[in-house]
């Protein structure tokens, strides 16, 4: 009995020691940024650079733009990330919007797809499932598999707005008409879906476009950063960092770094559009 008691006391002491030590750890401040899977990668690159010279830990999490907005509104994170404009219902609640970059949205197909050009009307019909076979737009005889994002995605919302794949109801609300066959919950997952099947079409943040997928030429304009800058490539949206009205020194310092010349240089390197 005495042996058992001493073992139990020893364990309890050890447990409490670990808690005390964990609490007395370094004085590092943690900034959490939650939301858009488009802003996530560029935010991570900027955070890595910022952490080199500052004693903060920046934690980037995904979930999609709507998650970012709702967490920022609840003040459950320091920074909310969104890749679309705020809706009317989200404005006026004390959120401060910081535009850190602009990003295009590329319409992507599998590399083996023979189609390279589409008009905005064709894109709209494809995503509404009015055109269902690739041979209707100049490709092979194969069914079109539409890859889309979850309903709360900023990329989806921005794409829907700009490509006009919605209709307004009686109260002026925009009803999303994108009819996806395969729904992915992040830019990366959607890209993987398009890579894995020759008949797919989807939409992707321009900053993540590379040789694994083919970017469609829309209305005769190729999806490149240069074309977004000149405005010829019309499908683009701002990348936002949202802070609540409260004074958050560390978060504001990080955002200042992003908007500085050094931060915007990194933005440009990563194939996004700088805003300074």
């Amino acid at each position: 009995m005495k042996k058992n008691i001493s073992i139990i006391i020893g364990l309890v002491l050890a447990l409490s020691m670990t808690f005390v030590l964990a609490g007395c750890g370094s004085d590092e401040v943690t900034i959490t940024a939650i939301g858009s899977t488009t802003v996530g990668p560029i935010a991570q690159t900027l955070a890595d650079k910022y952490e080199e010279n500052n004693d903060v830990l920046i934690d980037i999490q995904g979930g999609g733009s709507s998650v970012g907005v709702s967490k920022a509104l609840e003040q459950a994170c320091d920074i909310g990330m969104a890749s679309r404009e705020l809706k009317d219902s989200e404005k006026g609640q004390g959120l401060i919007e910081h535009v850190i970059a602009r990003d295009g949205i590329a319409v992507i197909v599998n590399n083996s797809n023979t189609v390279s050009e589409l008009s905005l009307d064709q894109i709209k019909s494809i995503f509404k499932k009015e055109i269902t076979n690739w041979n209707e737009v100049g490709g092979v005889d194969a069914p079109i598999v539409v890859c889309a994002r979850e309903a709360g995605s900023g990329t989806r919302a921005a794409f829907m707005e700009i490509a006009n794949i919605y209709e307004k109801d009686a109260d002026g609300n925009e009803i999303d008409l994108i009819d996806g066959d395969v729904i992915s919950d992040s830019n990366g997952a959607l890209k993987a879906s398009v890579v894995g099947n020759e008949n797919t079409i989807g939409f992707l943040s321009l900053g993540l476009l590379d040789e694994e997928v083919k970017g469609i030429v829309v209305e005769g304009v190729a999806p490149t950063v240069a074309n977004v800058l000149t405005g010829e490539y019309s499908i683009s949206r701002p990348l936002l960092l949202l802070t609540s009205g409260e004074e958050n020194e560390e978060a504001n310092a990080f955002i200042d770094f992003i908007l500085s010349e050094e931060g915007q240089d990194i933005v440009e390197e990563e194939k996004y559009i700088r805003v300074d």
Partner: protein, 302 residues
């Protein structure tokens, strides 16, 4: 001397009594804690989800076929159908395979093969569901597209496949235990009167192990209907009625997990109401389980 001993014994029994009381109370507190957790979860889900039933209308919610939050349309019929079809498909095939594997392990396998298969199945049981989903995404989905000539491999068939693999360990383990716990006299008696081994298995052992096998199947059904992460990765998640085995589907669980992060207002309440519907499904399954097991106990007692 005698008095001293008596005092020593008295002290010891008082100490024992104290230990008894203390530990009994600790166990009581733990039991109450688990009851408390269940009650809190039920109350929270019903409180948050019930208003949605009234705002959307019970009939429109359960039998509505359009789920489009931006259009304020919250009908979950497509997802109920997807959940039911996926679970039914998985359980029918999974139960068949599972019970046969259990029979093999309990009655027919040589010892060296048993030593290989049993740990393999227990390992299957321990794999996290997101790993199953990843395996499904990388291997099952592309192969379904190739073999069935489908536009895309994500869909109902992929869901059923994955769920079968996931519920197999549950069914095999519990069914095997049930078959092994049939009294030896039953088997010996049947063999003694001239029945073959296979006849004995199907006519004597399986009926005797019925309630155990049934409870394993119902546990498997519970797991299948509640599976979320693996399903999201392979199901396609379109909010449509499945028209073929390879149609993209969205189950009730996948719907909740996909949209809960950002849903607000009525959308959020609708997702909790979906949780209530799921909860009711599982309750119905458990009630069926209890009835079937009680029937089995009664039959065995006769």
């Amino acid at each position: 001397m005698k008095q001293k001993n008596e005092i020593c014994i008295d002290k010891k029994s008082k100490k024992n009594n104290l230990y008894e009381k203390v530990f009994r109370n600790i166990f009581l507190v733990c039991a109450c804690f688990s009851i408390l957790c269940v009650v809190i979860i039920i109350v929270f889900i019903f409180k948050t989800g019930a208003p949605a039933f009234f705002e959307i209308g019970m009939f429109d919610f359960i039998f509505g076929s359009e789920w489009n939050p931006s259009a304020n349309a919250f009908g979950i019929l497509t997802m109920i159908v997807a959940s039911i079809l996926g679970t039914l498909g998985a359980v029918i095939v999974g139960a068949l395979i599972g019970v046969f594997v259990a029979i093999f392990l309990a009655e027919l396998s040589p010892k060296w093969l048993y030593k290989i298969i049993k740990p393999a199945i227990e390992l299957l049981a321990g794999i996290p569901s997101v790993v199953y989903g990843f395996f499904g995404l990388m291997i099952i989905v592309p192969n379904i597209q190739k073999i069935f000539n489908a536009p895309d491999g994500h869909g109902l068939l992929a869901v059923i496949f994955i769920l079968i693999i996931m519920i197999l360990p549950t069914i095999v383990n519990i069914s095997e235990n049930a078959i092994r716990s049939v009294p030896r006299e039953f088997k010996e008696g049947s063999l003694a009167i001239g029945a073959s081994h296979i006849q004995t298995i199907f006519k004597v052992l399986i009926p005797s192990a019925k309630s155990g096998i049934l409870s394993s199947i119902v546990l498997g059904t519970g797991r299948a209907i509640g599976e979320t992460m693996a399903v999201i990765l392979v199901a396609g998640c379109a909010t449509r009625f499945p028209t073929s085995l390879t149609s993209s589907v969205r189950t009730l669980t996948a719907n909740i997990a996909l949209e809960m992060g950002y849903a607000t207002g009525l959308h959020r309440e609708a997702l909790f109401a979906t949780g209530i519907v799921l909860f009711l499904f599982i309750m119905i399954i458990n009630i069926i389980l209890t009835i079937l097991i009680n029937k089995g106990v009664k039959n065995n007692a006769e």
